[in-house]
Symmetry: C2
Subunit: 210 residues, 2 copies
DNA sequence: TATATTTGCGAGCTATCACTCGCATTGTCT
DNA sequence: AGACAATGCGAGTGATAGCTCGCAAATATA
């Protein structure tokens, strides 16, 4: 319980065996987090779930926070890859269609493991090591902004930076809210939701002189 | 540390003296939370900060979670009152102006105690007792929806319910993000931000045939 | 004033947590 | 095979957390 001082990384796994251990620990962390929540997810419990000793856990992660941070980082990298793919698939479409597809991609991405997503959102404290992880969110920002830049002539906003940050925040919040509060929503409702978000975004990016 | 079973409320304060104690505890909770964060905010620490014994704390709050829940509830009631006032002040304005004023009110509300707000947002786990608190958020939803209903003829959205939920989520997320990431933003930037959010919202509620 | 009730106290109990360390096992290199 | 390094182990340690309980002080009631 006593963890006042910030911690440094440990040795990184070099042999295959240890890499398996690390993966097992991350997987176990995800399972334990979704099963019992952040507070009750102790390092002992996670190690046991992973079929690994606590000692091994601390060989690769200096503390619980670093462990969770690594899991979040892995998760974020996956999400980022999905976004990147979606942006490529959408490169040649007109903006309105593209936005619709992107929003759908966001919703689908969040539906992969909603329980884990929910824990990240509702329980994992975003501080310390975890705060650094948000820097990885900056990559999302960059990807979206560079996409908007390519479509600059179809878009009429004062400032691409604020537009990007507004869009990323908005779509993320709405997607979270939808997936968390209506995890079993039928396809029709999901389509409706995507439609509404698309209208919101397109209306913002391509306003019509009134 | 051992708190497996959910807990019931304790006796509520009847004499003035005890009400003072309860208030002191809530105030201390806010101070401790913003100072050391959720994890390190122990009940002993909170009681000491309040100038009250742990025993007294547990006379009114069955556990730490209930204590924090009570604080969040108090905070939410204050926020709700601000929203309610803002809606009244805006009743007779045209929609676009009204939205702008409402967004400004939201930003101002979050600027009252940004540190506390941040703790609520980033650290306080939204589960158990805290989940019930979100039901109080339903009141926000109801207020906004009834406002939109009064303006139904100026608005063109398919469904007022989804529109309400989208607007509440969006404005809240954007406001949070702005206040947390730019707590010291100059007035000009704040005005800009309010402008953008207003454009986003108005563009959604009053789309122009394209 | 005498009695009953409410409120306040805080040392201390138990549970649990994060984390260590000396030793055993497995893998690599020559 | 032999030597050295990498990895795995898990009982044990110290610290701290949440929470209780017996008693004292303050307030209400008669």
């Amino acid at each position: 319980m006593a963890r006042a001082v910030p911690t440094n990384p440990r040795k990184s796994a070099s042999q295959k065996r240890s890499q398996v251990t690390v993966e097992a620990l991350l997987d176990a962390t995800a399972r334990v987090l979704t099963k019992v929540g952040y507070d009750r997810a102790s390092t002992n419990r996670i190690a046991a779930t992973a079929g690994v000793s606590v000692g091994s856990l601390y060989q690769y992660f200096p503390n619980k926070e670093a462990l969770v941070a690594a899991l979040v980082a892995r998760h974020n990298r996956e999400m980022l890859a999905l976004l990147s793919d979606a942006l490529k698939e959408v490169a040649s479409l007109d903006l309105a269609t593209a936005i619709a597809k992107l929003v759908r991609a966001a919703v689908d991405a969040h539906r992969v493991d909603p329980a884990l997503h929910r824990v990240f959102d509702e329980q994992v404290p975003r501080m310390g090591q975890l705060a650094k992880i948000e820097a990885l969110q900056g990559e999302t920002y960059r990807l979206v902004k560079s996409y908007l830049e390519k479509r600059r002539n179809e878009i009429s906003v004062r400032d691409l930076d604020s537009a990007t940050s507004i869009l990323v925040t908005t779509v993320e919040a709405l997607t979270h809210q939808f997936v968390i509060h209506r995890p079993e929503a039928p396809d029709r409702d999901r389509d409706r939701f995507i439609d509404e978000v698309t209208r919101l975004v397109v209306g913002y990016l391509m306003p019509v002189r009134r």
